[in-house]
Amino acid sequence: MSESNLEPFHFYTRQNLIYLTGRKAKNISELLAGIKELPLSSIYHHTHHYLEQFEFLTPEPPNDYAYWIKNILQDRLLGEEIASLDLSQFSTLEEIRNKIIEIIEVSVQRNTESLQRSAPPGEEFYFKKARSFISQTKYISNNLTEFLECLKNVSIYSIYFHVFESRLRGSNSDFSTWLATSLNETELAREFLRLDPYLQTLDSLRKFFVGLIENRLKENTNART
């Protein structure tokens, strides 16, 4: 394997400022209306912030909608359906929104009892949204060895950006794309994609990636000797 230096990899990071929309839902109809009408930045927040804020609870609950439907509305069936949504299969927030709407609408048609459930006062669903502030870090890698060092030192927010955010924002700066296109590490890139990142903590994701690269570098060393 040869390490080319076609395109250096710039590590970015991103931080979110959370906005309150002033809108809340006390039942499934109001939740559905909010999901349909609020901007995608709201879908993004409610399907992703758990990954950071409640990292210790990973792998569940995976998103705010599922948590609220299951624990507050006490609708276990629908809660489980929303919780089981495989977010890694979607490449845009619009697709995620449409799928959640579809699941809720089908569920409500099948089980009209869902419409009767109501949250106790004070436990309504509060819609929020996020603004992302993205900044380039000092970490740049030109080859796999440098990439490994950067990966060990960047913040979990940088890992978050490249694993989750860049894909949803239509950016081409995820790790696997760079490994495949700039370093011709297609097998390693495939291994990066094999793990569902939504089911990991960010620290365990880092360890997983570091482990894969260390093994790859060992293979390279062994091949040379």
Binding site: L17, L20, Y126, F133, S135, T137, K138, R169
Partner: protein
């Protein structure tokens, strides 16, 4: 004051690096904080800790305090209670006093910040100067806003909507406003006297000074003597527990210069305590941070049985010390206590009493709750996260457009 790098041992040097990365975009921006008291209460504490760190990051952070007479602070306390949901009847004279005090401060203060950051309702009407001097204005509400008295909220809203952005501590506080509302939870400082590690001798000495028995379980609530903290309810819950479990109760509260009600509440608590030798009512001066730290660390269980709560920083403090916490599901407390994972949430005196017994008698469970709580606070409620949110808030005023901002 601690330097930023000293926090790396708690949050990691990568987090500190990122703070510096974002701060670089705010070099020499002047942020002028204004509130109503320099000592006592959560706001003054947050500013005391935050200002030097913002300055170290290269942001020109300043802090000024408005001046007001005794009458003004009585009115703003009444306003505070009304915003917390108590019904308040305000006379025109009281409204006039509030506005005149704000007007007088607005005229005397040098409002020089690029960003003027107003904390809580007391100085809210300073915004009248915006039309004349411009600048970016932030209104930060630190109190529970879930069920405000409609009269006082309508009055205040007229001023709030003149700001560029408002900030609330919990999702349930969001209002229908024409300006953006940002969610920023407050934080604790792990290096402050109130939260730093203490040697066992210091903890023992503090217990000894208050004649508290270190060999028997200690149940503690730290908060000022205020109706909204329900100290009477705490004593009643404790008395139920004590029928079957030998333990002591410590109710320790500081005094804030903007709270004239403390003495009256303390008198009511004394009445319900009835000279019980196992209940310790400690009225502590604002400088008692080490004592509070020691009392929290010596506690077997920590309570926060508030009826309303802005955020409930005492919960974060106790969790940071890995203490099992029992608290009410009000204000920002549910953000800190995930029921049965990082503490227990209760709604009644009976429920609180049951939870105290449960934790006093099931120590492995209590220990696990405390450990989870500490990790949750480390990730989400330390001052470094708060600094980051403040910087993002300032950046949001400089970059007002778009869901995604490339700096």
């Amino acid at each position: 004051m601690p330097e930023l790098k000293e926090y790396a041992k708690y949050v990691g040097s990568d987090i500190i690096d990122e703070l510096e990365l974002y701060a670089a975009k705010l070099k020499n921006v002047t942020v002028q904080n204004i509130n109503s008291t320099a000592v006592g209460g959560g706001v003054a504490e947050i500013l005391t800790n935050m200002i030097p760190l913002l300055q170290e990051l290269g942001i020109n952070a300043k802090w000024d305090v408005i001046k007001g007479g005794e009458k003004f602070f009585e009115i703003t306390k009444k306003m505070h209670n009304a915003l917390h949901g108590q019904q308040g009847n305000f006379s025109q004279e009281e409204i006039d006093n509030y506005l005149e005090t704000n007007e007088s401060n607005a005229n005397q203060m040098n409002l020089h910040g690029d960003i003027i950051y107003i904390h809580d309702p007391q100085p809210c009407a300073l915004i009248k100067r915006k039309q004349e001097i411009g600048r970016k204005w932030i209104w930060r509400c630190h109190i529970d806003f879930s069920r405000p008295d409609q009269f006082i909220w309508k009055f205040l809203k007229e001023y709030v909507e003149k700001y560029d952005v408002s900030v609330f501590s919990a999702p349930s506080f969001a209002r229908e406003l024409t300006i953006p509302q940002v969610l920023i939870a407050p934080s604790i400082d792990p290096l402050s006297d109130k939260n730093k590690n203490l040697p066992q001798e210091t903890i023992d000495a503090v217990l000894e000074s208050f004649k508290i028995d270190k060999n028997r379980p200690i149940v503690t609530q730290i908060s000022r003597f205020d109706y909204l903290k329900d100290p009477v309810g705490v004593v009643k819950a404790f008395k139920q527990v004590r029928k079957s479990v030998d333990c002591q109760l410590v109710l320790a509260g500081g005094e804030a210069t903007d709270d004239p009600e403390g003495g009256q509440v303390l008198a009511e608590v004394r009445e319900v305590v009835e000279n019980d030798p196992d209940i310790f009512l400690l009225l502590l001066p604002p400088s008692s941070n080490i004592e509070i730290n020691a009392l929290q660390r010596a506690s077997t269980v920590v309570l926060q049985k508030s009826l309303r709560e802005g955020f409930g920083l005492t919960v974060a403090e106790a969790l940071w010390k890995a203490k099992p916490v029992i608290a009410s599901a009000v204000g920002g407390i549910p953000l800190q206590v995930v029921h049965k994972y990082s503490g227990l949430l209760t709604h009644t005196i009976e429920g609180t009493s049951f939870a105290i017994k449960q934790l006093l008698q099931n120590q492995p469970y209590a220990k696990k709750l405390g450990e989870n709580g500490r990790e949750h606070i480390r990730k989400n409620f330390l001052i470094t996260r708060h600094l980051r949110d403040y910087m993002l808030l300032f950046l949001s005023l400089i970059y007002p457009e778009g869901d995604v901002v490339y700096l």
